[in-house]
Amino acid sequence: MILPFWLQETLKAVLIGTAVLFFITVNALFLVWMERKVSAKIQLRRGPLYVGPMGLLQTLADAVKLISKELTTPRHSNRFLFVLAPLVVFAPLIGSFLVLPLGENIIIKDLNIGLLLVFAMANIAFLGIFTGGWSSNNKYSALGAMRSVAQNISYEIPLLLSVMGVVLIVGSLKMSAIVEVQSNVWFIFLQPMAFLIFLCAMLGETNRAPFDIPEAESELVAGYHTEYSGFRFALFFLAEYTNVFIGSALAATLFFGGWRGPLLPGPVWFILKTYALVFVVMWIRWTFPRLRSDQLMSLAWKVLIPFALINILATAFVLSAASAGP
């Protein structure tokens, strides 16, 4: 039996969407568990132990608890925006998974502008954070929202500029092409400065410590999601960990040869590299204090952007010299 084309496509979309959603959830649950274990190891503790083997099901239990909680809405908030915000933060993440190359030819849609799509989607999420903080009608939330807007604008630029070097070498924004070019040498060796800038900017984009000022709990209680509870809070939480995953996956693809590696199949390498980078991100979080918002800005504008520009210039210069040579 042959289904009509539109039905085939719809079915495909639904199936892939469900699979991605399932992956996001399981991945976030695992990352939360991993974060708790990593932080425990760093902090002389043992972390979750009792629910499931090595406490693996602890986060699942927590998620169930979170979902079963009452959804509260502050009395003077803008209810429509307040409910909308977590969805706006969460939904674009699914889009980013479209273009992540898990292995050779294992990619949902190998778009020409793959790399650009990920950044575009990440930016929409900030709109949600801002709406959430603003509509809560809480001064702490509003402060968090203000900070996140400023931070997003500042860190978007070095993030994009840092990958430009890679894009110049590859000559394409296509994710599969980027991995293809790295078959001989990973870009981390050709573009080490770009990687450092990318890592910094990524931490800034994903609101991770030491750049977690929009939700700085010792200053702003919980920042933009102070008023959120239950499942809506869970969506913010899920988004945060998925963002870390996407950022690390992007770094693995751009600088560490993506799914390429000996012996093991591509997807395994991809996941291994991504989780190794996630571990680095967690390690940084539990080692450094938080920056102040103005210091954060000056880091972006006075350090990261100039160095990213220098990196692009140098790359372009070397490339043109190489192509013009004998």
Partner: protein
């Protein structure tokens, strides 16, 4: 106890008092009373006297009122930072008058102290800019430290308290009308009293423009229990549990202060062994207190991990203290002329040895991880800068004062117990910022460890309790100050010879240190506000008493 204090800095003032008509001047025995001199001056000349003290670089240690049957007596304690020169200046206010003169513009620290007296005694201070209640709610109608306030269940004063609860039944408007900003860019935010970083129930009324702090006014009194009234209605020994509940993080110093005060007043001295044990426990507690500060301060700066390391180290100290006292936090172990029970020497020496070696390594780790950490430096250097003059004006003491370059530590400044015989240094730093305060506390921990090492090798054997303790304290006024973890903790005792204290004023270091917050926080960012608040290391139950 040393009584060889020369009082060279006091000489010009003594000269001044002797030459002024209408001033009653007495020399006092420092070893017996804690004062070097006393002057009773007419109410009209207090401002001139205060200016005179200020010009000779004295600071206002404390200010309190005593309710006598026919008059109020205001007692201003002045002291010099270079050498102990404590002088009490008294002003007698007749009951019919009810007004006194404010010196808030001469000594900024008097602002809060005068408000507290207004709150507790109903006295009014002329020219005070903000004469509101400090510790009790704004619309209270009681003045609890008046002698006619009995606090009996059937009495009219308790009915007033009931009325107060009735008034607040539907909640009340927080903030003051005059604080609501007129400019559309500005807004007010309540930092606390329920906030993760205010270390208890402190409320700071922040006026902001964006993230910039225009002004930050602390509002205190949420943990007020009126220990001073409790002292007045109980016998001397019944006050012991209260002492451990002022600063619950460094309660040993407070035990030591109270024991030493009453011993000074009774004219007894604790046995040698007891003195050693007291200092040992106090220093251990000081390290524990600084560790707790370090952990929570870094938590305020968004750094989680050291908190667990600090608590791990602190846990070992608490284990030792628990072995000795049976308590882990609010110690109630010292007694007049002795201790509650003897210390198990072997266990303590062994456990202290087990603690010291790993802790020295940890201290090095903290230095390696923090002292030159760029982010840490950026968050603390040039943040919350306090000048020497500000610190003196507000009566700031402890690490916050030593971070401004003033080497005043009562363990050397006015040596008590066995500190004279111990070898340790008083660290000072010049910066006056949060980073300098951090460095001071880190070095103080190392110095305390040095003291502990000296003591555990030479604790003498013998009696731990003075056999004969008088029941009453002789009539008179006494002062005793000790260096607590947060600064100078002083107690001013007025005794009428009865088994109960007539008046005890608790001069707590955090109170004065916190009152300087508006100066330090002027023009900083919200994030700095947290950093400053953490760096002065306040404990709210001690501020509110």
């Amino acid at each position: 106890m040393s009584s060889t204090l020369a009082g060279a800095y006091l000489a010009p003032l003594i000269e001044h008092f002797k030459n002024t008509p209408g001033v009653q001047f007495n020399e006092k025995n420092h070893a017996r009373t804690g004062f070097l001199s006393e002057a009773v001056i007419p109410e009209s000349s207090i401002r001139d006297t205060a200016k005179k003290f200020l010009s000779h670089e004295f600071f206002l240690e404390t200010l309190t009122a005593v309710d006598f049957a026919e008059c109020f007596e205001l007692a201003y304690c002045f002291n010099h930072w270079k050498e102990c020169s404590r002088c009490v200046v008294k002003v007698v206010i007749p009951k019919s008058q009810e007004t006194a003169t404010s010196i808030h513009d001469i000594y900024a620290g008097a602002n809060w102290l005068e408000r507290e007296i207004h709150d507790m005694y109903g006295l009014k201070f002329t020219n005070h800019p903000n004469l509101k209640r400090l510790l009790l709610p704004e619309n209270s109608r009681i003045h609890p430290l008046l002698k006619n306030f009995k606090g009996e269940v059937s009495g009219s004063d308790v009915k007033q308290v009931g009325q107060l609860i009735e008034d607040y039944k539907d909640g009340y408007e927080t903030g003051y009308a005059e604080d609501i900003p007129k400019h559309p860019d500005e807004y007010v935010i309540n930092l606390g009293p329920q906030h993760p970083s205010t270390h208890g129930v402190l409320r700071v009324l922040l006026k902001l423009k964006g993230e910039r702090v225009l002004s930050g006014a602390p509002v205190i009194g949420y943990a007020h229990r009126n220990h001073e009234k409790m002292a007045e209605v109980q016998e001397y020994k019944a006050f012991w549990p209260n002492v451990g509940r002022l600063d619950y993080v460094g309660a040993m110093s407070y035990n030591l202060g109270y024991a030493a005060l009453i011993e000074r007043a009774m004219g007894i001295e604790a046995p040698e062994r007891t003195q050693y044990i007291r200092v040992l426990l106090t220093e251990l507690n000081r390290v524990a207190s600084h560790l707790l500060w370090l952990g929570t301060y870094l938590l305020d700066l968004g750094l989680f991990t050291p908190f667990f390391y600090c608590f791990d180290d602190r846990e070992r100290i608490l284990d030792i203290l628990e072995h000795v006292t049976g308590e882990r936090l609010t110690y109630d172990y010292f007694r007049f002329g002795g201790l509650q029970r003897d210390m198990p020497d072997e266990i303590v020496v062994r456990k202290a040895g087990e603690f010291i070696a790993p802790f020295k390594k940890r201290l090095k780790d903290y230095h390696d991880l923090l002292t030159r950490n760029v982010i840490f430096q950026k968050r603390t250097q040039h943040v919350g800068v306090m000048t020497k003059e500000t610190a003196m004006g507000y009566g700031v003491t402890g690490p916050s004062l030593r971070a401004c370059g003033i080497p005043m530590d009562l363990r050397r400044h006015e040596p008590y117990s066995i500190y004279e015989r111990l070898d340790f240094e008083i660290p000072t730093e010049g910066g006056g910022d949060a980073y300098a305060r951090y460095l001071i506390r880190m070095r103080e921990m190392a110095e305390s460890i040095k003291i502990i090492e000296q003591i555990i090798t030479r604790i003498p054997q013998g009696e731990y309790q003075q056999a004969k303790i008088p029941r009453n304290v002789p009539k008179g006024e006494y002062y005793f100050a000790v260096e607590a973890a947060r600064g100078s903790f002083g107690m001013y005792l007025v005794s009428d010879g009865s088994p109960q204290p007539y008046k005890i004023k608790l001069r707590t270091p955090s109170f004065a240190n916190l009152s300087s917050l508006p100066v330090m926080s002027q023009g900083c960012f919200v994030a700095d506000m947290i950093s400053i608040l953490g760096s002065i290391d306040i404990v709210m139950p001690e501020v509110d008493r």
